[in-house]
Structures are given as C-alpha cells and as structure tokens.
Amino acid sequence: MGFLDIKQATKSYGAVQVLQETDISVEEGEFLVLVGPSGCGKSTLLNMIAGLEDVSSGEIAIRGQRMNEVRPAERNIAMVFQSYALYPNMNVAQNIAFGLEMHGVPKPERDKKVQEVAELLQITQLLKRKPGQLSGGQRQRVAMGRALVRDPDVFLFDEPLSNLDAKLRVDMRTEIKKLHQKLGTTIVYVTHDQIEALTLSTRIAVMFGGYVQQLGTPKEIYDNPANMFVAGFMGSPSMNLFPATLADAGGTAQAEFTLKDGGTGVLPIADPAIVKHAGRKVILGIRPEAITDPDGADRNSKAIHQLEAQVEVTEPAGSDTFVVTEFGGKEITGRFRADVAVQPGTSHTFAVNMEKAVLFDPETEARIR
C-alpha cells in the first residue's frame, strides 16, 4: 500500500470508457508524471484523484483512506490548472489566501503564509495586482503559490507549463524540480511533453488510449520500453524502429535487414536468450545516441558492432550531427560528434551499441525478451 493508491480505477462517459482499469501506487514524496498524447485520459485520471470527476469503478485512496466519496475540499490536495484558473475579481494576495480562508485559517496567519509563499516564488511585488495585470509566467507562479500555501498531502498539476514560451518553460521546469526537492511533497503531474516527464519525474506513467502503457522510473521507461508506443513516444529524436529477421548464428541471435544498396545488414543481438526466437520477424529499436561514428561509441559497452551504410542526409545540430541512413527500408537517425566529417551520398561506418537495442513483435507491438 502506497501513499496514493489508484486501484483498478476506470472512467466511462456513458458507453465510452475513456480510462481503462488502472493500477498505480505512489509512495510519499514521489514525483509521478502522467504523460501521453492528447486525449489519452491524463486529465481525466488527475481529476479523479482530485475528486472533480467521479470514479466509475475501482478505488482511489490517500494515506490508506478511500477517497471515492470524499469531496475535493476534504481530500487535502492542491491543484494547478492548465489555464491557471486565477479568480479574476481578486488580487494576487487574495487569490493565494482564498483556500486558507475557506479552511478557516485566521487572517494574521493567512497574511504570514501568503508572504512566505510570495517570497519563495518571488512574487512579493505583485501581491496587490489583479490576475489580468500579470504576464503568463507571473500567473503561473501565482497559480503555484495558491497550491503551495495550502501545504497539502498531494499536489496535482495539469500541464502547468504548456501555456508558456519555450525559454520560460525550461526555467519553470527547473523551479518546479527545486521546489519538489525542497518540500518533498508528493506530486502527480500531467504533461504531454516527454522531456518534461523525463526531467521532472521520479516515476512516469506513459498513457495511450485510456491504458497505462508502462509505469516505471525515467531510466526504465527510456532504456526498457514495454512496447513500441512507449519506445516511439519517449525520447527526442525518437527511437529508430525498423523491421528485421532474427537468425541463429551459432548459439547467439543476429538481426538481418536490407540496406539501401541492396546488401544485407547484420547486427548480433547482445542478449543470448533471444536465440530461441530465431526465424522470427521482429522490429528492432535502437536510439539515435546508440548509433554513432566508431570513435564516438560508448567505451563501456561490450557490444559495439560496426556497419557500412550509405549516408542520406546530415543535420548539424551544434554539439552533434544527426546522420540519416536507411535500415530495413526505414529512415534511421544516428548521432555523430560534430567534428566528424560525413558527406551525404557517401558510405560511412556506423557503430551500433547493441546493448541498447530492443526487440518488438511487429503484430502485437509488445517487447520481445
């Protein structure tokens, strides 16, 4: 039993089930990120935790207490909304103090807490302003302040950074992470930005089509995706996925696939257990940073394999150059050091770190181990 337990919770609107049976157990102090494409049910799940949406079946519990019938106000949660939802008729100080006032905290104490939170978020000079007179970033801070002042069991964030410009988003991301480290309060955070998910979370739930596809630490999700959806969704540029056939090469498996020039590319599979799947068609998944120039390959890996292939396009990106080739008829992006000379149209040696390669079933899209 965790701190926040979601047990076989589902949500239906009439006949449409938008959230399939979901089990997530969050420990105290964790930073859980719900990530997934638009419409996958992230907000729905968050609103169910908040008590803003009914739970169709299953249970939601905080500190072991069943919450299904408890009103939002009595769950001791605080929420930051995507649109910030600041009360337009109240100034910043009143906005922040509203929750305390509703919970019967006396005025002097309210003022003191508002002051503390304002200092923490550096909005002291804005306290007398109305929300309409604030910039996007300032509104975002006020919305956070309104949640922070309450000292709740769980913070819920629904895409709090999505309305900000790129620069401010990165800054606020760092601030949220710092705040979490400082306060240690449990956080459930919704986003559709996989970078936010990877940088902020202690654990990630990747959602798609109403299902939790995978629940794990950022490293687990990144290195060991449970299926092709997770593999493709998390990471930027996204994981290379291409069809190959497994063959038995004297006790270990190797993946064979066509190259652009009509030849056959061969990559040995590092995991010896895979040999039992010999003869099967699979989808091979390799992240761009595991396909490099030979000198840039990971020195700690015991399974670097080199391969000649035609370079189609190069995309210099400052510190790295992304080099595009073709394996098994699919575009493959590799990440070369910027000072390696690569010419489009010529052949070049690619070093593939097969320790990081993953295999999927082309039909079910599930991981093959």
């Binding site: 106000a73 605080a78 995507q82 939802a85 009360y87 337009p88 929750g99």
Partner: protein, 293 residues
C-alpha cells in the same frame, strides 16, 4: 483606400451621408415629439391647453399640475394623487427585480456549473414559461393567490412577477455563465469553497454586465405591467400604471389634461432613470462574451 482607417463602417459619399442624417434627424424629432408635448403641456394651466396650440410653449409656466397629480388628484373614489400608488409600485418592483435577478443567477449557476440529469429539460421548460401569454395564467394565478392568502396584496403581485421574471433572468444568466470558465469553479472547490461560497465569491463578482441587463429588463417589464396590476390588486395595492389609468378615467367633469400629462411623465420617470443610470452597461452587457478581450 490608401489611408488606414480605424472604423470598420462602410464609407459613403457626402451626399449619401447628408440624406442619412436628414432622415435620422426627422425620425428623432418625430419620436421626441410626444415627450415634448407631454412635458410642455404638463407645465401649462388648463385653459391654455383648451385654447388650442398643443405644440406651443406655455405662456404661464406652472408646476401646479405636477403637485396635483402627485398628491391631490382624484384617483378612482379618493383624492390622494398618485403618491401612494407610486410607493406601491416601488415596494413591488424593488423586491421583485432583486429576487428574480438573484434567483436567475442561482439557476444559471446550477444549470451551467452543477449540471444534473435532465437539466436541459428543466431549462427548456423555464424558457417555455417565458413565452406563455399572460392572459392564459390569469385565472389559475388568481386561484393560487387566493389559496396562498395573497390575493389583492403587494406581496401577491411580487409573487406573480417573480414567477414570470425567473424564466427570463435564468435565460440571461445561464447563457452568460456558460462562457464562464469551469476551471475557476473547480479551483474554488479544491480550495474548499462550497456551493454558495463559490456563487457568492467567484460567480457573482464577475456577473456585473449581465446583472445590469437583467435588472433593466425586469424593472421595465414589472414597472410597466398593467394587466397583472389590474387583475390582482385592490385599491390599497394598486401599482402606478393602474392608478394612472384611474386618474385619466375618473376625473369627473372637466378633463385635466395637464394633470394627466404630469402623471404620465411621473409613471415613466423611474424606467427612464434606470436606463440613464444603467444604460451604458446595457449594450456592453448584451455584447459581453461575444468577443474575446
């Protein structure tokens, strides 16, 4: 057009514009004429009116017709002037407007932010209620008022106007609150505010424009109502409109036109006042929510 122009109206030639303005001014004078006649004649002695020349300015200016209409003119059988009836109207219209506006706001709030099974049907029925002709409810209403012990009283009239007013005020507020971000209500719920606190602290403070529209609408309708006033009041509870009718009808012997004019203006003044005071919010309120920003 080379020059950037800030107004979006269609550009017209000066000849066209001359015609437009001429027509507008003529219409303006035409509409203002009755008011002019009323004001001018309410300030003349009676024999000047009898002598003809309804349109001419008074030779002798007098406020006597106003004094008479207010406090001494014969209304029905008693010579009380319009004063007591004016007060009747005030004590009828103020609570009726206040309560119907408040209940409309509450209904709009529930129908948009606390939706329940069948809420659209409830709203549909309320809308339907707005358009039931007054004559149809006269007899059932008389029976109801009788059963409630409110027949012939000012509270009875307030009740009737409330019942009719709620439909419209609900319509106004529901449409206004439909534009109001639901996330604010949800944020307030999480902050610990209950049903009425959210209404009072979050919804009402943002309802200014639509409240003005609603108040003007209700005030004008209830103040000007004659049918319900004539049907459901007795001598002690008659509103201004009915009393004005009695003033004009009951004058024995000579018809004191100047007094009638003064009384008619008195009956129209409160609605004029409401328009002038609240009117500039009126158009803004009607437009509220239609344009972002």
């Amino acid at each position: 057009m080379a020059q950037a122009s800030s107004d979006t109206a269609v550009r017209t030639g000066s000849a066209t514009r001359f015609i437009i303005y001429t027509v507008l001014i003529v219409f303006c004078l035409y509409y203002l004429l009755p008011l002019y006649v009323m004001v001018v004649n309410s300030l003349k002695p009676l024999d000047e009116i009898r002598g003809g020349g309804m349109l001419s300015l008074p030779e002798v200016w007098t406020l006597a017709p106003w004094g008479s209409a207010w406090s001494t003119a014969q209304i029905g059988v008693e010579a009380t002037g319009l004063k007591p009836y004016f007060l009747n109207s005030i004590i009828m219209v103020v609570p009726a407007v206040a309560i119907s506006t408040l209940l409309g706001a509450l209904n709009g709030y529930v129908l948009t932010k606390w939706r329940f099974r069948g809420d659209t049907i409830v709203f549909g029925l309320m809308l339907f209620g707005c358009f039931i002709p007054f004559q149809m409810v006269l007899i059932p209403m008389a029976r109801m008022l009788g059963l409630m012990g409110l027949a012939g009283t000012v509270p009875g009239l307030i009740f009737v106007h409330l019942v009719y007013g709620i439909g419209f005020s609900t319509l106004y507020f529901r449409n206004y609150y439909a534009q109001f971000p639901t996330e604010l209500v949800r944020a307030a719920m999480i902050d610990g505010a209950g049903f009425f606190r959210i209404f009072q602290r979050i919804m009402l403070p943002s309802s200014g424009p639509i409240a003005v529209v609603c108040i003007i609408w209700q005030f004008t309708n209830i103040w000007n109502d004659f049918l319900f006033g004539a049907s459901f009041s007795d001598f002690s509870s008659q509103p201004m409109t009915v009393a004005l009718n009695n003033l004009v009808q009951s004058s024995t012997g000579v018809k004191e036109y100047n007094v009638h004019f003064a009384g008619a203006i008195m009956a129209a003044l409160p609605t004029l006042l409401v328009y002038v005071v609240a009117g500039r919010f009126f158009v803004r309120g009607l437009m509220a929510g239609s344009v972002k920003g």
